[in-house]
Symmetry: C3
Subunit: 471 residues, 3 copies
């Protein structure tokens, strides 16, 4: 029976010189608290503080990294218990689903999921044997037995995981009731929200007009008018700030921005509301709204995150049967230099503005993003994102970005996850990779080891708190 061990030097190069430096750098920062300024955990967990109930519903069902890989190898989503929209029954035997997963665990070799899951199995649940068909039942039973214990309550885990801060992400219409419920518990400083207004900004959504309507109701503004709509957004931003938000987030198909006249913008908004906007016009409206949001960020001081480039719901069969977020979002080529220009022409030289750029198109790291961030005071570079949030992906990010943007135009790590239990694993991978990258520079006499140690601290902790304005 294969052992499950997390080697203390995992992810460090085998070259003894570099490894020794990486070990020393890592030792100093391994124990720093986790600051997680961008993610998708459910605030209900922390508000209710109820135990999680099952290995499968905790670890597998919400993790589209896991079931997309299984699906790619011909395993139906139904057999994995993913709920169908038409209500047709799917596999509901959680043990069986866990067994299916375990018997295909070899598919994850070489992927970050494997590394994160092994970390969870070993560090959080204490397993010493590898997950296989043979050990599946034992894993399943043991995880379930542990989950009911008091030390596995969400708030206790927040503390055990050494999480100093965890930002969730909520749509503009969210009541933030779970964040409200946390007030007075002491955990309201730990679990904060992020303002993500895509639902009231993206006129391609079927519910756009209804959402704008609700936005008006929530804020007492006439959101049928351009001015009222903008004012309503300001009010919601303040509401989110009152629930801890220090940042906004914007998931757009492209990085396109615009700087329309007020009259043009108002007319375009009216067209979008009526549902008469063309695809180009809804794209232009989103573009205009990025610029509007940048303006509001200057007003209220919130850091602005832009996540462009995902082709959402690429697989219509999956979307129709199972809905969004089922592993069928695919990156696409993304352009920044021309697309960001209208916003940058207007606000780019304002050093009070903080915009963090992310990409799924790695070709832009060295060609566009590092040169932009190495010039514009408002721009910083977010970490390797999504499919690139992996050892090799993070290394490519550092190798391609650092020489032009330096370290200080980057903002530390985002785990960007809804997989709560994997947060320590993900931050640990990022810390190891950063230490490894720095150790390479030291070993090649491109950086002093004292400087590398200072940078390891900044990449893990200092720059994150600065970029997201976490006092």
């Amino acid at each position: 029976m294969a052992a499950l061990t997390l080697h203390p030097d995992r992810l460090f190069p085998s070259d003894p010189t570099v490894r020794a430096i990486a070990q020393r750098l890592y030792r100093e920062i391994a124990g720093l608290p986790i600051v997680s300024p961008h993610g998708h955990t459910d605030p209900k967990w922390f508000a209710d503080n109820a135990n999680f109930d099952n290995a499968t519903s905790l670890l597998l069902l919400p993790d589209h990294y896991v079931f997309r890989m299984l699906y790619s190898q011909g395993i139906s989503l139904e057999s994995l218990g993913i709920r169908r929209k038409d209500g047709v029954a799917v596999e509901s035997d959680y043990r069986k689903i866990f067994q299916t997963f375990a018997s295909h665990y070899h598919l994850f070799r070489g992927t970050p999921s494997r590394m994160w899951l092994d970390h969870v199995f070993s560090e959080v649940f204490g397993f010493t044997q590898a997950l296989t068909t043979a050990t599946a039942d034992n894993f399943y039973d043991s995880i379930n037995a542990q989950l009911v214990k008091p030390e596995f309550k969400p708030r206790t885990l927040l503390d055990r995981f050494n999480i100093e801060l965890l930002a969730t992400t909520e749509g503009a219409l969210n009541s933030l009731k779970y964040h409200s419920a946390l007030k007075g518990t002491g955990y309201d400083k730990k679990v904060i929200t992020t303002f993500r207004p895509d639902d009231v900004v993206d006129a391609d959504r079927a519910d756009f007009a209804a959402n704008v309507q609700k936005l008006g109701e929530l804020t007492g503004q006439d959101t049928q008018s351009w001015d009222g709509y903008l004012q309503a957004l300001r009010i919601r931003r303040q509401f989110f700030r009152d629930h801890g938000a220090t940042a906004t987030d914007h998931g757009h198909p492209t990085a396109k921005t615009a700087d329309l006249s007020k009259a043009e913008a108002a007319a375009l908004f009216a067209l979008c509301l009526k549902g008469e906007a063309s695809t180009q016009q809804t794209e232009l409206f989103r573009a205009q709204m990025l610029t509007e949001m940048a303006g509001m960020s200057i007003e209220d001081g919130m850091t602005m995150q832009i996540h462009p480039g995902a082709f959402r719901n690429h697989n219509p069969v999956i979307f129709q049967n199972f809905g969004p977020d089922k592993g069928a979002d695919i990156p696409s080529p993304t352009e920044f230099v021309s697309n960001l220009k209208p916003l940058l022409d207007k606000y780019g030289n304002n050093s009070d503005l903080k915009i963090i750029l992310f990409t799924l198109d790695e070709t832009t790291y060295a060609r566009e993003l590092a040169p932009l961030a190495g010039h514009y005071p408002c721009l910083k570079l977010g970490p390797a994102w999504w499919f690139h949030d992996s050892p090799e992906g993070m290394l490519r990010f550092r190798h391609q970005v650092t020489e032009t943007a330096g370290f200080y135009n980057t903002v530390g790590f985002n785990d960007d996850t809804r997989a709560f239990f994997s947060i320590p694993a993900r931050h640990d991978v990022a810390r190891r990779i950063d230490c490894r990258f720095l150790a390479g520079l030291v070993a090649e006499h491109r950086l002093g080891e004292d400087e590398a140690a200072e940078l390891a601290y900044q990449l893990t902790y200092g720059l994150v708190k600065k970029a997201y304005q976490l006092a």
Copy 2:
């Protein structure tokens, strides 16, 4: 006089830890039979089983990697004996051509051609000195002297090279007479064909209408009608299957697919046949035909290979004087996410369908191909292709693909060559690079060595046979 030695650790990293692991992994798979599911050797060689006659016509004249490099440095194709279409005489002194090549052999430093050729010189012909101007005559004479021996007959070499299976590639109108001739020799299981219908699908070709006409004659179908044309293709596919084919291959300028209605497709086909289709329309027709071929693959079970992105015959002077395949095909940017969507919308969730995607645009590895293959059951990723079929190219493929697609959504190695003698060299490079990549993961504690050993077997043998359905 410089020695020619193939170092037993060539292509392994010099770090002793990684190298030792790579050695162990390689030792286990170095002797596995060669499965070559995609290539361009001439079936006549194996049908006739006649000796090859000359070093120059065997090793240089058919190898566009070799003469394109020489041409780039100002050496005329005429002086290399490449036949002109106008019949003007070119160099015909094969010894002199071989000397020209030898005296420029330094140009290949750092290229895979150098590595393959040295392997052939050392392992196949037994040379112990490097090829230089001084040794050129000795090489030329010795190779020629060996080529006439019985142990250099093509079938004997198939066995000597430990080739379990070799797929050639033939156009849709090919008589497959050489494959037929192999029946009963025992070599018909070893040398199989592949169905490549570009000649009857690409309406930009001058001979398209004539080819479709011939297709009708060969199959007894009315290929002037859309239905008859499709039926004729089905019949030819079966004919190829009867000669061993388990796969089709499609070399298109782009990865564009379409899903037209039957009436639209029929009208477009008629336009193409009449030679009245615009460039966009011939592109659309090729796009539609990829989707048709995918449908037929579901019917008859053949694996479908898509090779997009080559700008063929970029140099009109060379094309006019010497014809196609003279080293003047150049890769171009290739997009998959939108282009494949019509086909994937129709068939993407069918796990009986097997489509292998190749690219010449490495930016798509991590951005598009790995995410697509890590989701769609029908998609697998072909190995690094053509200019990227090289140590660094293969490493980039594994580094950029593995974390999102895993290993099991890849399909092993293709040598894709008409250079028969280089097949063992090419497979050996691929095996060494895979072992090296795996050894790196083991050395960094990202994978167990037992897992790496299993993967080395899969990448060399198991996944190839599965992907190409070679029982």
Copy 3:
């Protein structure tokens, strides 16, 4: 107080095997003279041979790598002493500016600027302590004290730096008076010019028509006619050749070329002169002019350099207040395969023509540039350029280009700098990286060490002189 030391093994890998080989290779070529065939130093320095007067105006003010990074972190260009176009006063206390720079020196960690500056501080000025806030005054005073010495005169430094040849770059209308002034000093063979006609070719410039007018006055040609304009360019090319030029340089937004009929070209030229050309038409005119320049290169034998892909003056606020070349030029996606085709169709097979291609879009290295240069006799690949002129950038270039283009289709290193004092540092980085790359190939038994030594010489010296026709 941190020490400033240039480690003798800097930039070499820490693996002892590779490092030892790199050391041996480097030892042989470290002392070769510097050949700098492309750069932007001021010929006035060498003509006047006056001492430089101040650390800040010498090292900081002209270096947009330095002030773009500081600006990206919120430090105003005014506070760095960058002159405003409106004459509003900016910081003029050079000591204070130097202190500002010193106190932000940590921002450059991991960037090539840091490496170059440390080299200058250590090797040129003899500092043994690192630059920090605490040592800033000492640096400033000591540099200034040294700058006034006779051994810091520009010509003396040319000799001290072991510079065999330095090419400057001048616009088509430049009087070349400084190069003239050098005649008879012996330094006219060392400091040569390069013909850069962008100012009379780019009709998007506000001064285009005026420049063409001046071109006529300088040459006695009627530059209002297409024939007269072309003849005037020929005359200026000869004038530059008389001042040492062996090469031309062309900085275009894209790599687009065209091959218009004479009548079309003449009509387009007339439209451009009248200021009535659209953006597409000025682009087409530049495209046509690249082809014209290639034709003239065949006539007069000058090597042609093409530098496409920079989005110039991306930041309009900076451009308006401070002018061009203030760190706001950003790379953009660049396409070569289609864009170069008209020129290549006309002249691509002429092996007397020498065109050196550069790119800011690294995705084209393996996909487009190496395949093109590995085929067309007229094409060679320039080194990693601008943002990619850095250790990692150079490594990516070699890793991605070599397997398809080989080494002999590359042309050695360009420092491309106006920072005269950094020239030895930049060439040293390039030499170390090349030796390191070659050492890796040797350590992995992909190249003999004797071959690597020959290549190190070629990459440092031989290929540069050949490509730029420096006898």
